[in-house]
């Protein structure tokens, strides 16, 4: 009977394990392998072993350094702002009342749009003034009597513009996760704090924050990894420009593979990207543990 259960169980998990092995674990292993070999896009077979040559080439490539710096800049802009905004909104819509349900839906709606739709739409909204008119944002600035801005056409403004757009699109998702966390904090703790004479801010710092610390750590990790994946927005809206100011790591990998046709180079960049994601996940685990110790 037990032997039969084992056999059936293996049949149940086998298709999933084979497919995930083939399409997740095998590519990860083959990426590490290819990163140590010479291989062109057109080669059917892996070329000769070349040690750390691809990694040295990536590291010495000013394009890669720019891409890494840009991606880090995007994450530094997006992660704290988006998390803080999501937390503030979650606390707000957690209040009882009819209007909160409508507000939740409105804040969540942009997350259902595809990155493609958002990129196309905001490209138009960000349009600088020209003969045919301007985008909505410059129209708004004009109505307020403020000078028009170049937005995506300026190397200094382009990345903050992409960050603002991404926060608008993503904040509703983080808000929903944090809302679920807030709703699992016991009401008794708030009552006890109120009896102790804690004010609103005091209750937030001493009850809410420790109560949702594990959720907050999870949200921080998801947001950071989402930010590091930056690709579609600059690819469609700026092409990585102006002057390389928005070229991201994923775009570098994409161009290394399909424009420069160097799979070894692309995989070496991929391995570095993999390490960055693993570090973020590791840090989050640490945070998660200390957050659990808090509660």
């Amino acid at each position: 009977m037990i032997a039969r259960e084992r056999l059936i169980a293996l049949l149940f998990v086998l298709p999933a394990v084979l497919l995930i092995g083939l399409f997740v674990f095998w590519p990860t292993v083959s990426m590490a392998r290819t990163s140590l070999h010479q291989q062109r896009l057109t080669d059917a077979q892996t070329g000769p072993f070349c040690g750390g040559e691809n990694f040295r080439a990536v590291w010495d490539d000013p394009d890669f350094r720019t891409a890494a710096r840009n991606t880090a800049y995007f994450a530094v802009l997006v992660v704290p702002l988006q998390t803080a905004l999501a937390l503030a909104l979650a606390v707000w819509v957690n209040a009882p009342g009819r209007w909160t349900r409508g507000l939740r839906l409105a804040l969540f709606l942009p997350t259902t749009l595809s990155l493609t739709v958002v990129a196309v739409l905001w490209d138009l909204l960000y349009e600088p003034a020209q003969a045919s008119g301007s985008g909505l944002f410059n129209g708004l600035l004009g109505a307020l009597g403020l000078p028009g801005q170049p937005f995506l056409t300026s190397p200094a403004q382009a990345m903050p513009c992409l960050a603002a757009m991404s926060i608008w699109q993503g904040v509703g998702f983080q808000m929903m996760i944090l809302l679920a966390g807030l709703q699992s904090v016991s009401g008794e703790l708030y009552e006890a704090a109120a009896l102790d004479g804690a004010r609103r801010w005091g209750r937030f710092v001493h009850v809410t924050l420790p109560g949702i610390a594990p959720t907050l750590a999870l949200v921080l990790m998801i947001t950071t990894i989402f930010a590091l994946k930056l690709f579609v927005q600059p690819y469609l809206m700026t092409g990585g420009g102006p002057q390389g100011a928005t070229r991201s790591v994923v775009q570098y990998m994409f161009e290394a593979a399909f424009s420069r046709r160097d799979l070894g180079l692309a995989c070496a960049a991929g391995v570095l990207f993999f390490v960055a994601v693993a570090v973020v996940a590791g840090v989050q685990r640490r945070l998660f543990r200390s957050a659990e110790a808090l509660t």
Partner: protein, 290 residues
Amino acid sequence: MNRGTGTSRLRRTLPGAVAAAVVGLLFLAPVLWMIAASFKPESEIHRDVSSLRSFLPAPATLDNYAAVPQRTNLVTVLVNTFLVVAAIAIGGILINGPAAYAFARMRFPGRDVLFLLLVVSIILPLEVIVIPLFMTVAGFSGAVDLVGDRLFALSALSVPFMAKAFNIFLLRQYFLSLPRSLEEAAFLDGAGWWRVFWRIALPNAVPAVVTVVLLDFVVHWNDFLWPLVVCTGQDTRTVQLALGNFFTEPPISWGAILAYATLATLPVMLVFALGQRWIVQSVAGTGVKG
């Protein structure tokens, strides 16, 4: 609770309601403007951007929507995307469902190690392995002679995403939350594992199944990067890829682009509107929250 009289209650809740309406409308403004502008003649889209009139499609026209099928092979693109998303969702249930059930209820050697490996892989984004995944799929390109270009491309778009660690995790959590008594009664009646899974466990896990299908639908309907990597022909493009091409290939006609963007968004909003109740229920059931 002291609820107070009608007017004082209104006075207390009104500022909150007004603030909520203002913030909600500000958030929706870009989407509302997109829908309004998709009904405007091309020459009007950049007009009046500094006033609220910009949000009203007057004069309104359907020309932009009529232009979409002329600019792109819309029907082929929609059929492609529906086929891909349906294959991922249906294949996903057939593959992830039994696996999740085995992890929840059955004992077999290596179960915990295997499950840990799956959970760890959840964190790995497609973007990290997109190039080697392309190489893996390209390794199967010999099959093109066998099945033809279009079927190969549609398979390349769907098969790699059928088995998904996150979906196995979500379904397993839900199976664990079900009472064992129903399944035990079926075993006493002489049913085997396969039968108990299909007849008892899966029908009782509908909220989780619906959630997984909806998430797959949204993620793959909206995906741009993977179609960009694997689709080379006009007749294998998906909705997002066609929108991207529409946007980058001259002549740029904003009205038609916005009409297409609106059309591409409708199915996802519909799916969310229909599925919201199930998603909340299944997240509550899995204990993923908090």
